[in-house]
Symmetry: none
Subunit: 112 residues, 2 copies
DNA sequence: GAAGCCAATGCCATACAAAGAAAAAGAAAT
DNA sequence: ATTTCTTTTTCTTTGTATGGCATTGGCTTC
């Protein structure tokens, strides 16, 4: 098994990685984590958040609703509750892109 | 000609009438009048607003977006400016979302 | 020492609401 | 009818509570 494959299969991302990925502030991600049930990272023994691709998708979605579509937090919450199936539909397609995203992110990390 | 018809043919409504009709308070209607171009009542010599049914519909729409759908003022404005079908179309939305992710990915790549 | 945690506080824009003035609309008296 | 008084409706401007983060501080872990 090649080394690279192992990295691509990475399951969890730290808040800093997610913040860099989506160009958001970490504090904002923590805030949204409190506000939205669909963002539910695991936590390790130290309490650090561990985000899955699903969490990242959820954050990207929230970001879209709030910063591009112009919803309030509560409007976005309501919107997400009303159309959960739509969000699931996108998951499969989004995974392909997220896989690519992961690769690029690893490239960035190696460069540093 | 029955009496009632005369009322139905009324062209202009005062802010108080509109407020009662939509169960909003007048100050809120004045505020939205400033914020939204689609609300454009005529004014008499004294500056009093004269609302047409079209204005009233526009106010009702704004009310729906803000108080029911959970948009901010600016989000509602944006929504009204673009074609609403596109916004409601789930497939379009999914595509737009994926495009967004891709852009973010590319942006990340270019950044370093 | 860099990155993460939480809690508390600060801060600025948003989204109205209240204040105060002016005028229109009734009612009463002349 | 018209003057006077009162009440209601409207106006604009200014005030303010809340929302949505950002920052700071103190601490822990890697």
């Amino acid at each position: 098994m090649p080394y690279k494959e192992k990295e691509i299969e990475k399951l969890y991302y730290t808040i800093g990685e997610v913040a860099a990925m989506l160009k958001l502030n970490a504090s904002q991600i923590r805030f949204w984590d409190k506000q939205f049930e669909i963002i539910k990272p695991h936590k390790n023994k130290n309490g650090n958040r561990l985000f899955t691709t699903k969490d990242i998708e959820a954050i990207a979605k929230v970001n879209e609703l709030i910063n591009e579509k112009g919803f309030t937090i509560q409007g976005a919450r309501q919107y997400l509750e009303q159309s959960p199936e739509m969000f699931d539909d996108k998951r499969e397609q989004a995974i392909a892109y997220l896989r690519l995203l992961k690769e690029k992110l690893l490239g960035l990390k190696d460069a540093k």
